[in-house]
């Protein structure tokens, strides 16, 4: 498996776990009709950011130690093609989701809903981006 595909797997898994946890918290809060104090929201958000960075960094270091040659190899034409295609797939997803989230303002969305909606759009686009990379490497390019 190419090193960059391993990184894509790490990114998908850590993003799904960490932000899945964060959005479960946000969704439960929304369902109970409560809006947490900004400091609680900021703490959860910061914790998710730091946790994902730590998990992704740790997993990447382990993978790089296990295959140092692959880790040091520069991106070749297939890597660049896979990256280009995955951005081309994820970018419209991100724009569409942001437009959808923005429209919710007219249906009474609160600032808390908007912030979480925007964050969810970024996370989903990120998962699509890395998912497209994985599919690209699985298919060959």
């Amino acid at each position: 498996m190419p090193f960059k595909e391993k990184i894509a797997w790490i990114s998908v898994v850590t993003t799904a776990i960490v932000w899945g946890g964060y959005f479960t918290f946000a969704f439960r809060t929304m369902m109970t009709g409560g809006v947490p104090h900004p400091s609680i929201y900021m703490a959860a958000f910061t914790a998710a950011l730091i946790l994902q960075a730590l998990l992704a960094a740790a997993a990447t270091i382990v993978v790089a130690i296990l295959a140092p040659k692959d880790a040091n190899a520069p991106a070749d034409e297939r890597d660049r093609e896979v990256a280009r295609r995955s951005y081309a797939i994820a970018y419209p997803v991100l724009i569409s989701l942001i437009v959808c989230v923005t429209v919710t303002v007219y249906f009474g969305a609160t600032p808390w809903d908007l912030v979480n909606g925007m964050m969810a759009a970024i996370v989903i686009a990120d998962i699509v981006h890395y998912g497209a990379q994985i599919v690209g490497y699985r298919r060959g390019a």
């Binding site: 498996m1 090193f3 692959d70 070749d76 034409e77 490497y137 298919r139 060959g140 390019a141």
Partner: protein, 73 residues
């Protein structure tokens, strides 16, 4: 737009590596600036290289391009 004719690119890289003293995929990759995994994908017909990369591969084996890659229609 007309539908493209069916077909695929096939190659003789595995055979040529064998004839070149069992050159490894990693060695070939190093010589053409690609990863071992990309060479494996090309060899398996899962990835079609750029024309430039195809010429580089042919150059490594000292063969003309059409002896390395063929169009199978």
């Amino acid at each position: 737009m007309a539908k493209p004719l069916p077909g695929r690119v096939v190659n003789q890289i595995r055979l040529l590596r064998f004839m070149a003293n069992e050159m490894t995929q990693a060695e070939l990759g190093e010589r053409i600036g690609m990863t071992r995994q990309t060479v494996a994908a090309i060899e398996a017909g899962k990835y079609s290289p750029t024309l430039e990369a195809a010429f580089r591969i042919a150059q490594v084996f000292g063969k003309p391009l059409d002896e390395v890659f063929q169009w199978e229609g």
